[in-house]
Symmetry: D2
Subunit: 276 residues, 4 copies
C-alpha cells in the first residue's frame, strides 16, 4: 500500500528549479520525490530542508541515461511511495558552446538521451497509471534552444528541439485523456548553483552581479509559475509559456537593441535596425 | 488627489474574460475600472457584483474606436480615481468568418482600430505615468488568429497579427523600464455571454454542451492565470502564454487527429497523417 | 482590348527589389507595370532600362495611401494594358527606430495603411479577375519585423505582423482557387538605393563596405528567387521563404554569437550562451 | 585523383525526392551519388536512368543507422569520386501514427538515428573538406513534424524537431564560413513510390486520385526548388522554405476550414471558426 496520497516527482532535482519545485509542491501537501544523478549529499540537504519546513520528501539517486533506471524509479514510487500526480522533467543537456567538430558523437548522443529520450521513457513508464487514475500533470523545463538553434548548441538544441515536439505529440494524444503536459521555455539564466553555478565556477557571483537587480531568474519564483500551471483546471490549460528576467532580451529580439533615435519628432526617418 | 491606491483598468469589460479579471483584481484589493462600448446596464451589473463582493469598481462607457476616447479615459482615471497599476486590453475584433470579397474596407479598418491601434493608443496614453512610477503591467488578451491566419479571418487575423508584434515591440522597449507586457493566446472558446454568446445566439447552450465537460474556457479560471501573470516578480516574467480546454486541439495540430493504429505492435508501419 | 498577354504588376517599384523583379519578369516576356509614389524621373529610368533590354514596361505614379488609388490602378491595367498574372506588393513601412512615445498616431496609422491595408486593397481589387481566369500569383515582400518585434519597431512590426497574417488568410482562402500567395521574409539589408540608400544617405557606401563581400542582398539575385516562386507549378507551392546574406545572423540567432570554446576536446563543459 | 569535378550526394535516394534531385543535379553537370539502404535493383534503375539521359551517377548501398557507414561513404566519395559540392540529407523516419505506448524504445531511438543523428554525422564527416574548399551546400528534406507535433507522431516529430534545430545551429556556425544549409519543410504528400507508396500499398493510386488534380507534390517539380536553393548566390541565401500542393491546407490552418458565410454583406457577424 502506498504511503502518501499524491506524489510530485522531480527528475533532475538540483538546488535550482528542481529543488524549488519539489519544495513548493511539498509545501502544498504533496510528497516530493527528488531524483538526481550525483551529489547524494546535496540531495540529502534538499530533502532535509523540505522536512524541516514540515513537508515530506524522498531522495533518489537515478542515472536517467541508464536503461531501466527511469522505469524502475517510477515503478518503485508507484508501489512503495504513492501515486505520481505531477512530474517535472527537469534534466538538462547543456554542455556550453562547442563547435560541431568539437562535439563528439557520444556527446551528441548523450545530449539526446538526457534531453529527449529520457522524457519519452518517463512518459512511457508513468502515463499508464495516470490514465487509470483519470489524469495527471507532466511539467517539462525547457530552454531557448528548443525554439532556435544558436551556433555552438548543436547537441543541446537538437535535443531540446526534439523535446519540444515530443511535448506537443504527448499533449495531442494525452491532453484529451486528462494528462496536462506543459512546456516551459526558460529564456534566461537561472540562479541555479548546481548547473549554471557549476558551469561558471567562481565567476558565478560576478555574472549574477553583472545582470543587475533581479537580473537572474529566481527558481523560487519560477516554482510559483510551475505550481500555477499544475493547478490550472482542465478547462483552462496552458501548453507553452516563456519566462525571463525583466532586463533580459527575449530570444527573438536583437541584443543589444539598435539605437533608438529620440529626436525623431520632426518626422524624418531615423535608421536603426538594419533589417527589421 | 486620487481616491484609490492602485487601479486595474479593463478595456473591453464584458461578462467574460474582462469582467472576471476585473473582479479577480478587485478581490485582491485593486480598484477595478471596467470600460466598454455598449450595454450600460450590463456594465452596471458587473460593477454591482464586484461591490456586493466587498470590492470597489467604476464603470465607464468608452468607444475605443473614437479619437481621444482612450486618452480621455486614461487621463480621467489617473487624475480622479487612482494610478493604473495594471491594465487589461481585452477588446476583440472577431467578426466571424467572411470571404475577402465580403469584407468591406471599413470592416477591415475597424478590425485594425479595435484590434491593434487601440492597444497602441492605450500604451501611448498610459505608459508615461507608469514609467514615472517605475513600472506597471499590461495584459493583452489575444487569439489564435494572432499566430496563424485561417480562411475567413482576414480582418481579425491582420489585426491580431499586428497586436502580437506590437506586444513584442512594447515588451522590448518597456520591459527593461519595469513595464510587464504579457500576450495571452486564448486558443479556445470562452464561456463569454457578451461575445461568443451573442455571436451564437440561442445556439450558445447547445454549442457549449457539444464541447463536453469542461470543454469551454471558464473566464473565472482564466482570470486566475491573468492574476498570476500580473503578480510574477520582475526576475521571472512571462511574455507569451497559451490557454485552451483539455479536449480542444491546439491550433498547430490537425483536427481531427489522423487515426492512430492500435495494433501496430508487430512493427509494420501504420500510415496515418499524410504529411507529418 | 488589352495590349499585352500577361502583366506583372509591381507596387512599390524603386531601384531595389521592385525594379529588379519588374525587369526579371519583363525579360521573361511579361509586360511589367511599375508603380510608385514619388520620383517620376527615377521611375522613367527603370522603364527605359527595361525597354532598352528588349522588354516592355509601363510606369505609373500611384500613392497607395490614397483612397481609390490602388483600385483605379488595377482597373486601368486590366482594361488598358493586360491581365495581371503576377503582382508584387513591395511597399515598405520602415521608418527607422523610434521610441513608442516618439511614434505619433498618424505615423502608426500610415505604417498600417502602407504595410497592411494596401495589400488588402490590392487583393480586393485584383483577385476577382484572377479568379475568373482561374488563378494568378501574389508575391509579398516582407521583413523580419513580420515575425518578431524589436524595440523601436512599433509602427513597422505592427504593420508587418498584420501583413503576414493577411498573407496566410488569403492563401487559405484563395490557394485552392488557384491564386498563389507567397510571403518573402527579407531578413537582411538590401542594396536598394531608393529605400536603405535614402535612409542611410552618404553613409550607404560605408555601410555596405562594412558588411564585407556579398554582405548585402543583391536585388537582382533576390529577383531570381521571386521568379522561381512565381513559376512553381501548383502541385508545389511555397508560401513562406526567408532570405539573407551568408554573413548575416538570422533573426532567431544571437548576434554576435556567444564565444565558442575551441579547446573543449577534453570534455569539460565550456559555458558560452547563457541561456540556450 | 578524383574523377569528377563536383558531386551531388543524395543520402536517401529513392524514386521520390531523392532520385529526382539526383537526376536534376546530374542534368546540370554534377556527378550524382545516390545512396540508400535497400532495394539495390531500384537503385540501379535510378542510376541507369540518369546515365541514359546523358548524366553520370554512382549508386551506393548504405545503412545510415550503422556506425561508420556515413563516414565511410563520405571518405570514399571524396577520395575516389569527387568533391562533394552539394549534399541532400533525405532520410525519413516516418513510421505512421502510433500511440506512445505502441512506440517501443527501439523505434523511438531508430527514428532519432535516421532523423537527426545521421544528419549530424554527415555534417561531421563532410564539412571539413567543404571548409577547405571554401564552401558547399547542405540541403535537408524535412517535414511538417519538424514544426508541430501531432498525436501519433512521437518518434517522427521528436526526430524532426531535433533535425530542424540542428539545421539552425549548423547554419549559424557554418553559414559565415561559406556552407549553405537549407531546411525544406515538405508540408504535403509526395508522389514517392518508395516511401508513401509503400506505406499505402495498393491504396496509393486511390489516395492520389482523392487529392484531385495536382494534389500531390511532384518530386520532379520539388527538385527544381531544391536546385534553385542550391544555386542561390551567397548574398541571398534561404534557410527555410515550405512547399505543398495548392489544394492542401497548410499545417497552421484548420482543416477543413470553418464555413465562410457568403451572405454576410449586411454587416451581421457570421460565426465560423470558434476560436480564431
Amino acid at each position: 500500500m502506498s504511503k502518501f496520497e499524491k506524489v510530485c516527482l522531480v527528475l533532475g532535482a538540483g538546488a535550482g528549479i528542481g529543488g524549488h519545485v519539489a519544495a513548493r509542491f511539498a509545501r502544498e501537501g504533496y510528497h516530493a520525490v527528488l531524483a538526481r544523478r550525483s551529489d547524494e549529499e546535496g540531495l540529502g540537504r534538499l530533502v532535509s530542508a523540505i522536512e524541516s519546513g514540515g513537508g515530506s520528501a524522498t531522495g533518489m539517486m537515478v542515472d536517467a541515461s541508464e536503461d531501466g533506471s527511469i522505469e524502475d524509479m517510477v515503478a518503485r514510487i508507484e508501489s512503495d511511495i504513492g501515486p505520481i500526480d505531477t512530474a517535472l522533467y527537469n534534466l538538462g543537456a547543456q554542455i556550453g558552446n562547442r563547435r560541431l567538430l568539437d562535439t563528439p558523437h557520444r556527446t551528441f548522443e548523450l545530449g539526446w538521451r538526457l534531453g529527449c529520450f529520457g522524457l519519452f521513457r518517463l512518459a512511457h513508464a508513468m502515463f499508464p497509471a495516470m490514465l487509470e487514475r483519470g489524469g495527471g500533470t507532466l511539467l517539462v523545463t525547457s530552454a531557448t534552444a528548443a525554439v532556435r538553434g544558436n551556433a555552438g548548441q548543436h547537441s543541446h538544441a537538437a535535443a531540446m528541439g526534439g523535446r519540444r515536439m515530443l511535448c506537443q505529440t504527448m499533449n495531442a494524444e494525452f491532453g484529451p485523456q486528462g494528462i496536462h503536459v506543459a512546456h516551459v521555455v526558460v529564456d534566461g539564466s537561472v540562479d541555479a548553483p548546481d548547473t549554471l553555478g557549476k558551469l561558471l565556477g567562481d565567476k558565478f557571483d560576478a555574472y549574477k552581479a553583472s545582470k543587475g537587480e533581479d537580473g537572474v531568474l529566481d527558481p523560487a519564483n519560477l516554482a510559483d509559475t510551475y505550481w500555477h500551471l499544475a493547478q490550472q483546471p482542465r478547462n483552462c490549460w496552458t501548453h507553452e509559456i516563456d519566462v525571463r528576467p525583466w532586463t533580459d532580451t527575449p530570444w527573438w529580439n536583437d541584443n543589444p537593441p539598435a539605437a533608438i533615435n529620440t529626436s525623431a519628432r520632426d518626422g524624418k526617418a531615423a535608421f536603426g535596425g538594419e533589417k527589421d
